[in-house]
Symmetry: D3
Subunit: 161 residues, 6 copies
């Protein structure tokens, strides 16, 4: 596994994402965290803010780089001449969706493999949308994101508690 | 289980909700049916109408009271100094979502437990949104809600059939 | 199984739908492909376009006819005096939703049965919404739909590749 | 659906089996309840006893007949020149196993279709093995089987309560 | 929830069981850990050894007592005049099995409720049989059981590492 | 991914196993197919026969080697100083079991990662035990295994059909 792509919206990056990035970076030569730029999908943070938060979170990892992609993930991966997509699985519902995506991607480009890693149990409930929902309802999320991301969330929405 | 909270939107209350309320009220000292007041989430019935329908449905249950909460459920439960949240489970998809919510709540406040009860099989397909969908498409729902709620639905949308 | 109804949005019809139609048409006397006309649900293709694509895809099947329904499927099926609804199952998530729909339909009209068929594994990831998503993101979908439907998609959105 | 096969061990036949048989018999011309004769699989009741209990349970259904098969179900169905296998689905675990069996059967003989029917919710927990387990542990099962089958179970193991 | 029963084989008791016992003991008046005495089911530890390990693990919990039951759980709970059974849920497969058991129990005795609690994520993979499998294959299990239970396992099978 | 281990019983190796081996061998430096030697688990083929069938199936793959392990997989992988275990996922039931195994392995040795690959849909129903069951019931399995393995099965049990 020389090069792998870890794609996502990262709106914002959570400790669950970070755990997958750290574990993957140890078993591959180079890991590209690929942030989707989808103007049709509403996001809490701008693309720049999301990139900044990821950069801050992975700056100690030498073989991790950050990139942006538009359009179909499989096309981006093909252009990059990468062979491996890495995804985290938390639960059965993830599994089904990712199963279908992996099969469709395999059917579009048979050369590219999607490899799945089980999220650590302590992050099995964690997602960017849960973090945002909790914040918007007035809850604290400092256990679920890094202090830097936490500050950015407070700047954005409030709820420093 | 002295006091328990049964939270929901109840838009409107169905026989499935009522079954969980009745069964829970028999094994706890006091049960608070907690209706979420979320102005961002579109509802068919106003908060007042939802409260009225619940009140009418549980008036024979002495130890059941009705309340309203805003924001994060776990914060509301903590303020009320209640230790137990009760939820009904109908199917695997419920299970996964509720599992994640229970873990997140546990992570936010370790003192509060979520207890799950299996919905009776005859209501395993029933949800407020299914009731609304069926009514809007011209179907009858008198088997799924109480006669009082049924009248309220007809007043609201029609379809008395 | 003299007459059966295969309902759906078919926006657009995929090879997965076609496989269910072909297999079902071999074991029943007459199969009605029933396209839902739901003005509240946004569709990529107009009702007429969807009908045209289905008609083109099944024209070699003598015992398959195409119809339109409004409102609740179960009411349409009852009016048609048909006893059987046919649905394809791809995955556990389908199963749960369809289970609930079948139980609700059974509870509304006990005379009508829903029969399920497993989608062929090579189409287990395929859905109209996946096709549309791939096209909108710049991917090719010629393996997932017939050439006629592919042309219609290109006329509509582009991406002839 | 002129002829269909409903296969199983029926050790013993439960009200869940009977419900599928009754519902299927109404939508097909002829239904063959096919009891597997597998000397390698331990059963509580002999093949003759199982046949007797089924016969007694379906004697009012004119288009239902009972048969025995050995070996692979798909071979039996092919020899009988039947095109349809009917199975009941109770839960996700059934779904996965039956999905795999249906795909394997389809791969062995593409002409034969397996159609699935959702078990009524009140029997969604019911299986022959649960019935036997409950009886062996001293519980009552008269709600889960017909009175005739109940008597046979008592003759066999006891527990008339 | 004045009195609740937490049933199981506890062969041996794991940290996953203990977590459910501790959490439940905090929200109920009295908790009975009920160990099944099933001579037909092969166990690694004798009933006495299993009781000893539980006793040692819960001795600091004043409102937890230990009992033995034979036959059907629901009959035992009824005789004890308890209304609540508590079970831990780890995963979807647990959910389905426990769902069916809860429905069957409800159908046998409508007065008794089964309440489910989600196992902490760090024990979501843990079961007595996994512990035994790991030990028999030469692995260490000191993270999964208490030191006392660990010693008992080593006395029984070896593998002190 | 320099070196990876693909563990299993391979009793016998199926086309589903082979597909995972081929796909994995293309994205890693070296792949070790590790056959478990478990005298307590009954197998149709001896260890030597299983090794021979694997060897014959992968002889064109330069970077694939075959090995035997006893005891706990995680211990074997650690001794080999490998960091990656590869597993195929076919369905939700696989997912749950493998999820629990991966978490337990991670808990025993945090350095070793399990990566999952989705089995191709056309093999999603295939397992060694299904192959054996079909053969024993008199069915043909030449589509599910290589011709060489097929001959070995016929030599062992018969059913050349």
């Amino acid at each position: 596994m020389q090069v792998a792509v870890y794609p996502g919206s990262f709106d914002p990056i959570t400790k669950g994402h970070l755990e997958i990035i750290r574990r993957t970076s140890k078993i591959c030569g180079r890991l590209i965290v690929a942030v989707v730029d989808n103007p049709n999908k509403e996001a809490l943070f701008t693309l720049e803010e999301r990139l900044e938060m990821i950069k801050h979170s992975v700056e100690d990892l030498d073989n991790v780089e950050i990139d942006i992609f538009k359009g179909l993930l499989i096309n981006y991966v093909k252009e990059k001449q990468v062979r491996i997509i890495v995804k985290g699985l938390r639960a059965v519902s993830d599994f089904e969706y990712e199963f279908q995506m992996a099969l469709m991607n395999k059917s579009i480009c048979g050369e590219i493999e999607t490899l799945f890693m089980m999220t650590s149990p302590e992050y099995s409930f964690l997602s960017s949308s849960m973090v945002k929902e909790v914040v918007l309802l007035g809850g604290r999320v400092d256990d679920f994101v890094t202090p830097f991301v936490h500050r950015k969330i407070i700047e954005k929405i409030g709820n420093g508690g």
